[in-house]
């Protein structure tokens, strides 16, 4: 691990300013992904700003009838919150489907959104990776791709975003609140937080240098039957091959987002008009333009079948 200096943040604004002022600074919250990557020298910050003292760890109602989730709320706490369980079941289910008990106790809401891909080539510093080393090439293309993306991918990168939580946040139309180094704040729709790789896969989010996520807000509850279905190689503690987050209303209308298939939580609002007609047309619309490899082409029918199972469960 590269040596680093360390400071404890005192205010969000000061933390953002400090992160912008130091050339190779990073925030650390739960640290469950960052330290893993630092040990492998995939992340090599020269300075860490510990944001845990900021106490952004409460879940509060908003004036609009939604919830404001502090950036530092741990995954376990968020999943277990009574209001989240009652009104945003898809979010509780997604969180509980991710990682292990130990990791959920430490991992934060903002950190979960910002975690890096688990593409095995990104994780191997001995191999070219455009995300890790821009311009070095993509080892996954032509490599071992079973886990990797089938839509939204590019010729430079086919990595997936690994989060379950983010898929539920996307289907719930969450908003991300941030503070910038100059002290100004802004709100970013979850749909706009993550970028598609294009020819710059190392640029993963819309956040500017030093910009700090302070909270994630959920709009007022939309009701419906909320389901998160995750398909993976083990029954527990594994990343999704395919996951479906869905909110289905009694009239058959609804929303759906996919995990495990794309560089960001994958939702196509236009495809949702097809939901009352069933999984086949909805999946076809969601996956329009998909570009699978020989090894991960199974994900395309798996999306349709998982969505069919989810819609059947919602009707039952």
């Amino acid at each position: 691990m590269r040596a680093f200096t360390y400071e404890r943040a005192e205010t969000s604004k000061a933390a953002a300013a400090a992160a912008a002022a130091k050339p190779e600074a990073k925030f650390i919250a739960g640290g469950t992904n960052l330290l893993d990557l630092m040990k492998l020298q995939i992340e090599t910050p020269a300075h860490l700003i510990d944001v845990n003292p900021l106490k952004l760890d409460t879940i509060e109602p908003t004036a609009e009838g939604g919830l404001r989730i502090g950036a530092l709320v741990r995954n376990t706490v968020l999943a277990a919150d009574e209001r989240v369980r009652r009104d945003y079941g898809v979010l509780s289910r997604a969180l509980l489907a991710g990682a292990s008990g130990q990791l959920r106790n430490r991992a934060t809401t903002a950190g979960n959104l910002l975690q890096r891909t688990r593409c095995p080539y990104f994780y191997d510093p001995a191999q070219p990776c455009n995300k890790r080393q821009p311009g070095s090439g993509c080892s996954a293309l032509g490599g071992f791709t079973r886990q990797l993306g089938v839509i939204g991918v590019s010729d430079a990168c086919i990595a997936t975003h690994p989060s379950d939580m983010a898929v539920a946040m996307r289907v719930l139309d969450a908003q991300v609140e941030t503070v910038k180094p100059n002290g100004s704040t802004r709100t970013i729709a979850i749909a706009d937080l993550h970028r598609l790789p294009g020819d710059t896969p190392h640029l993963e989010t819309a956040l500017e240098k030093g910009e700090l996520i302070t909270a994630v807000t959920l709009p007022k509850p939309v009701g419906g039957t909320q389901i998160y279905r995750k398909v993976r190689d083990r029954a527990s503690y594994a990343f999704a091959l395919v996951s479906v987050a869905a909110i289905v209303q009694r009239d058959g209308s609804g929303r759906v987002a996919l995990g495990g298939v794309a560089p960001k939580p994958w939702r196509v609002e236009a495809a949702e008009a097809e939901l009352p007609r069933g999984a086949k047309p909805a999946a076809a619309a969601l996956l329009d333009g998909a570009k699978a490899t020989k090894e991960n082409a199974f994900k395309l029918p798996l999306v349709e079948r998982t969505l069919a199972a989810v819609l059947a469960e919602a009707r039952a």
Binding site: T32, G101, Q102
Partner: protein
């Protein structure tokens, strides 16, 4: 994936290191170690240490406080051998820095019981033969104790059928909730029995 695909993938992986070395990431200089004062409260005892900022909580416990009951398995948060209880919550001590826990109450396997007075979970592991080599055991026990508290405080799991009513202790709940602790000897069925007994359920 069939065997032929697997061999093809393995071949591709083997060939990659032979590629142009220029494509590799430039190694970043490690730099001069940075030291920082760290105060830790472990098993009720306060310690003041002067550590390299890179020191994980796991390494601080083992290498500096010589509490070697907590084990290093994968060192990447995948195996759970390093599980300790921090402010009542089980975490992977390998994936957190010692310097991040100045005010926390840390409990390791050494703080749970002694040879003469075993913690009920330790006694149950002995009774049910919940280990073979024993390497994962301190992590299993710390994790199991905190896991039962999580059920008691109403935290749901992936296998809890109704999010809006409290989870009950069951074999399925324990297996799901303990998935972050790997036992290479495969003592899982006995580990589950030990935990069911501590929870007051018949195995």
């Amino acid at each position: 994936m069939n065997r032929r695909d697997l061999m093809a993938a393995a071949g591709a992986c083997a060939a990659l290191p032979m590629m142009d070395r220029g494509a590799r990431a430039q190694p970043v200089p490690i730099g001069e170690p940075v030291k920082a004062g760290v105060s830790l409260n472990v098993n009720g005892e306060k310690h003041s240490l002067h550590l390299d900022t890179r020191t994980t909580l796991l390494d601080a416990l083992r290498e500096h406080l010589h509490l070697t009951g907590t084990k290093k398995g994968c060192d990447h948060g995948q195996c759970g051998a390093c599980t300790v209880i921090v402010d009542g919550h089980r975490i992977n001590s390998c994936l957190t820095l010692a310097v991040m826990h100045p005010e926390a109450k840390i409990t390791t396997i050494e703080g749970l019981g002694s040879i003469d007075r075993l913690h009920p979970m330790q006694a149950a592991f002995v009774k049910h033969d919940g280990f073979q080599c024993g390497y994962c055991t301190p992590g299993q026990i710390c994790s199991g104790i905190a896991m039962l508290e999580e059920i008691k405080s109403g935290i749901p799991s992936h296998v809890t059928s109704d999010l809006n009513s409290p989870a009950q202790v069951s074999e399925a709940e324990i297996r799901e909730r303990m998935s972050g602790n790997i036992c290479r000897c495969g003592a899982y069925s006995n580990i589950v029995e030990a935990m069911l007994e501590v929870a007051g359920r018949r195995a």
